[in-house]
Amino acid sequence: MTTALYDIPGPRTRQRHRLYGLASTALILALLGCVVYLLFSTGQFTAAKWTPFTYKGIQELLLRGLGNTLKAFALAAVLSLALGGVLATGRLSAHRPVRWVSTVLVEFFRAMPVLVMIFFIYVALQAEPLIALVAGLTLYNGSVLAEVFRTGVNAVDRGQREAAYALGMRKTQVMTHVLVPQAVRAMLPAIISQLVVALKDTSLGYLITYEEFLHAGKLIASNLDYDLPFIPVVMIISPIYIGMCMLLSWLAHWVSKRQRRNPKVEGVEVAAPEPGPLLPGGHRPPA
């Protein structure tokens, strides 16, 4: 491993590093031990707090919550891909008013907290929780994806576009036959990473009483009959949430690694433009 930071260590340094390693491992283990001790001393592992999870009703409640989470995610993912496509087309349009309108939309929805949009749709437009959640996620992730699409199309080598025009293709043909197919491959990792954001944000539905996974957890956690199994609920819910997101992140990573080996998509790299520099002139460094 070559790094700017240290040479390949010699025998004495290796020994020193081992010593540091042992010390820090001991420290980390001590911290973990503290947490476990706290868990035990506050009685988080008593049978009363854990038996509810063997009940069928509780399991069904959790599964229904998980199903609702996945439903919201699937809807939001499909719709935001569609909206992203529309907005990106708008931003790449040859007509100035169309370009202008879509730019304003994209910049506004990227600058707003998702939760504000969800609450607005839920409170002001009196929508159902699911609709409010999906609409809010779609507006935000759709406009972020629009930026991904746009940078992806623009990142395709200029020569491709010029050659296509030289063959007499129309703009639509150039887009659909030449640019987009090449851009999609390069954009795929960035798109999947954005879907991770959408998946994570479905948990916002909890705040507008959409009956998703976290909501189911809260329902169980605050049940007096089950001795308020708050920590057990967190211990069951978090690994599932984190696992789902990690799986998607891992997929994005895998796709991008595979593409780095593929000579056909060489040279086109699309970073996720997450929150976005709001003022002109901001740029990101080459990663």
Binding site: T2, T3, A4, L5, Y6, P9, H17, Y20, G21, S24, T25, I28, L38, T42, A111, M112, P113, V114, L115, V116, F119, F120, V123, A124, V196, L199, K200, D201, T202, S203, L204, Y206, L207, L214, G217, K218, A221, F230, I231, V234, I237, S238, Y241, I242, C245, M246, S249, E274, P275, G276, P277, L278, L279, G281, G282, H283, R284, P285, P286, A287
Partner: protein, 214 residues
């Protein structure tokens, strides 16, 4: 317009709450983020593992879940703090994972020769990292940290749903008072725009001063 003028103090309090959350959580996130980045590039295996675990877990945790666990969970351990301290803790830890990754990719942009030169002068690992590599990494890391902190400011809205005074929470009393909901939200949106645009402008200035000219 009336909504804003009649309730200027309420809006002011909300905006102040958001700013306060953003500032303190940013500080926590920067400190933790740089620390974790240092861990992730350290020669000591267990520290590297800690850094990696920290980043992987926090980046894949929904922030709402983190808030849920921190604000409602920590009191079960007998740790009772004001809600806004809990919110700062949750926001700061969550964002630190993103800061860490930004810093780490910044460290990768520093030419290897810089570190080699530092080492050949006899500098130790902390000296190389703190004196040579991080200051240069910092310059190329300004824009991504700016975007991360803008995201933090936007994420602070979630704190409002967990009983912390902040901008989004303003809608509730105003809604009960019967003000036009649409206008209530318009001014909330303006408030968030003010916060995010300020951060954005601040980082543009920082970038102009310290950024690497390419």
């Amino acid at each position: 317009m009336n909504v804003l003028l009649d309730n200027l103090s309420l809006y002011g309090k909300g905006l102040l709450g958001t700013v306060e959350l953003t500032v303190f959580a940013s500080l926590l996130a920067l400190v933790l983020g740089f620390l974790m980045a240092a861990f992730r590039v350290a020669p000591v295996g267990s520290l590297r593992a800690l850094g990696t675990a920290w980043v992987t877990v926090l980046r894949n945790t929904p922030l709402t879940l983190l808030f849920f666990a921190v604000v409602l969970g920590l009191p079960r351990f007998g740790l009772v703090l004001p809600f806004n301290l809990f919110a700062i803790l949750a926001l700061g830890c969550y964002t630190s994972a993103f800061i860490c990754e930004a810093v780490r990719s910044g460290i990768n942009t520093v030419p290897v020769g810089q570190g080699e030169a530092a080492r050949s002068l006899g500098m130790t690992f902390p000296q190389t990292l703190g004196g040579i590599v991080l200051p240069q990494a910092f310059r190329s890391v300004i824009p991504p940290i700016g975007s991360t902190l803008i995201a933090l400011a936007k994420n602070s809205a979630i704190a409002g749903a967990f009983s912390v005074t902040e901008l989004l929470g303003v809608y509730k009393p105003l809604n009960e008072l019967g003000y036009s909901i649409i206008w209530t939200f318009v001014w909330i949106a303006v408030g968030y725009l003010i916060v995010t645009l300020t951060i954005s402008a601040l980082f543009n200035v920082l970038e102009k001063r310290f950024g690497v000219a390419r």
